[in-house]
Amino acid sequence: MKRDRLRDHIVLILGAILMMGPIIVAFTTSTFDPVEIHREGMKLGWGGNFLETYKEVLFQKGGFSGEVTGALMTMNSLILGIGFAVGKIVVSMLAAYAIVYFRFPLGSFFFWVIFSTLLLPLEVRILPSYEVVQQLGLLNTYTGLILPLIASATGTFYFRQFFRSVPDELLEAARIDGAGPLRFFIDFLVPLSRTMIAAIFIIMFVVGWNQYLWPILITTDEHYFTLVRGIKQVLQTYIGANIPDYNEALAMAILAMLPPGLVVIVFQRMFIKGLVESEK
């Protein structure tokens, strides 16, 4: 248990190849010329087409219809990721504060209503959700894209869990020091939740960035396409073509995975902590 064992290293190296291999191949292949890929298959190594391909995808034809660039889609992805994370944190922190720190008659009723949203993932109520957003005239808007995703209660639960772990004496000491509900929230809970907020932000950013089903339904105007939403578009041009633009399709995939991947790696420690502790 204290020694490094050869067998474990072998298992881990094979595991790393299993997990990272496809991504590396996807990246290296994207640097080749499509004709060469079509002839020889996916390739390891450096194709030399890197700059051209990525420049084209980013600044010319990200949506593959020529109407929207990869840069704009990245922008949209950021808006969705950040908007979703921030919205969720604000809304759920306030709700969790009410549930944990206030004595009021309907407290447990609200708790159960919020809880019930965990029972029905978006995937099982897509059609009616779509119709509601349509009736509100929110198709092809950022609001329509982001707000319905915030409806689920996961964030509220994370914060409820965290607030409950804050010792009661802290509130008591603060009350003796003259802090009312608003003061306590701003002077105590927000600063104390900093790590928690950061961890949830990271998780929610990745979740938001990676949304697929909802953007497919809500955005038909390419100017609102996110990178992940654009992946479906990539595929459609792929089908018709004689020699599909494999390189550009893969470049899009790499672009779509890079920001959330970087966030997860850079904030690895905080990310793991947030993920594991919030699920308890």
Partner: protein, 353 residues
């Protein structure tokens, strides 16, 4: 007549689930006095303290602080300061901010806040780490900061809720002395809650012994120790506790398994047939000439300055504390007891007779 800082009149706490935590308690705290609430866990001592602080609502009765009834006031409006068992320091604020936060909320001018913080820092010798966070402090330092937060408020009364229970034994002894010195120096009334009878004895001007939400006895340490009002007080105050033996009273003598035990001189007359006979462990001597009450020794504990002899009188367990300089007795010996040291309690109610 001395001025009263705090007057508790028929204070009752009943929780919504019906549990009675505090049952008609009447206690006064005089100006500058240090009163200790002591009792086992669940006796209501902390609840009572928190009611004074305003952290628990008052079911019935009145709490009068510095001449006004404070039952319905917010904690911040009560002119109290509290030190919590786990200190409840604000983990995200520096020591300085911890001390000044409450003053700022009260709208004190900045220079007055600074003056008070510096003053408290000097008294408690925490000036060197005013800019550190609580997590960077040792247990003893945190304790001082918690007291500092109380001092800067210049309250009418200090409320200390088991403030030393998170410290190790050595530090606890030192802080105990410091708290006493501090309280003398500030000359401010204080309620100090503890389950540790040593702390109660050493700190208190007066002790309030609580049991099951009721007051068992109120008195100076000497009174509570020397003249316990009940078997509960007798066994809770003093270590090792008072020896308590169930006896039958026959013809003016206390009998246990055929052994006669002396009765206190004032109680020759009307006594019930059964009683509980009590004697402090240090109040018996080993008889040197075979006279006295037979005592069989099972275990001897050497404590350094003194020695504990655990054994039996008749069938009943009995502990004797003697000076370590006395010669260790043989296994079977006899005890000499001064009847004036003997306590008698009612067998049913446990109250002193």
């Amino acid at each position: 007549m001395t001025e009263k800082t705090l007057v508790l009149t028929d204070v009752v706490k009943r929780y919504p689930n019906g549990a009675l935590a505090v049952d008609r308690v009447n206690v006064d705290v005089n100006a500058g006095e240090l009163v200790v609430f002591v009792g086992p866990s669940g006796c209501g001592k902390s609840t009572l303290l928190r009611m004074v602080a305003g952290l628990e609502t008052v079911t019935d009765g009145s709490i009068e602080l510095a001449g006004r009834v404070v039952n319905d006031l917010e904690p911040a409006e009560r002119d109290i300061a509290m030190v919590f068992q786990n200190y409840a320091l604000y983990p995200h604020m520096s020591v300085r901010k911890n001390l000044s936060y409450g003053l700022k909320n009260r709208g004190l001018p900045a220079d007055e806040i600074n003056r008070r913080v510096e003053e408290a820092a000097e008294i408690l010798e925490i000036g060197a780490f005013l800019d550190r966070k609580p997590s960077q402090l040792s247990g003893g330092q945190r304790q001082r900061v918690a007291m500092g937060r109380a001092i800067v408020r210049h309250p009418a009364i200090f409320l200390f809720d088991e403030p030393l229970s998170n410290l190790d034994a050595r530090l606890r002894n030192r802080m105990r002395v410091e708290i006493r010195k501090l309280q003398r120096r500030l000359n401010t009334a204080m309620i100090y809650v503890t389950h540790d009878q040593v702390e109660a004895m050493t700190l208190a001007d007066r002790i309030v012994v609580l049991n099951g939400g009721r007051v068992e006895q109120i008195g100076s340490p000497a009174e509570v120790y020397g003249d316990p009002a009940s078997t509960f007080v007798a066994s809770f105050i003093g270590a090792p506790p008072m020896n308590l033996i169930e006896v039958g009273i026959e013809a003016g003598r206390a009998m246990r398994d055929g052994v006669a035990l002396p009765l206190p001189p004032s109680h020759d007359g009307a006594l019930p047939a059964k009683a509980i006979w009590g004697l402090r462990p240090e109040r018996a001597r080993v008889g040197d000439d075979g006279n006295g009450i037979p005592f069989t020794i099972d275990v001897v504990e050497e404590l350094g300055a003194s020695r504990l002899l655990h054994g039996r009188i008749g069938g009943a367990e009995f502990t004797l504390q003697q000076d370590a300089s006395a010669p260790p007795p043989s296994q079977a010996t006899t005890l000499l007891i001064d009847p004036r040291d003997v306590h008698l309690f009612d067998a049913e109610t446990g109250k002193a007779l």
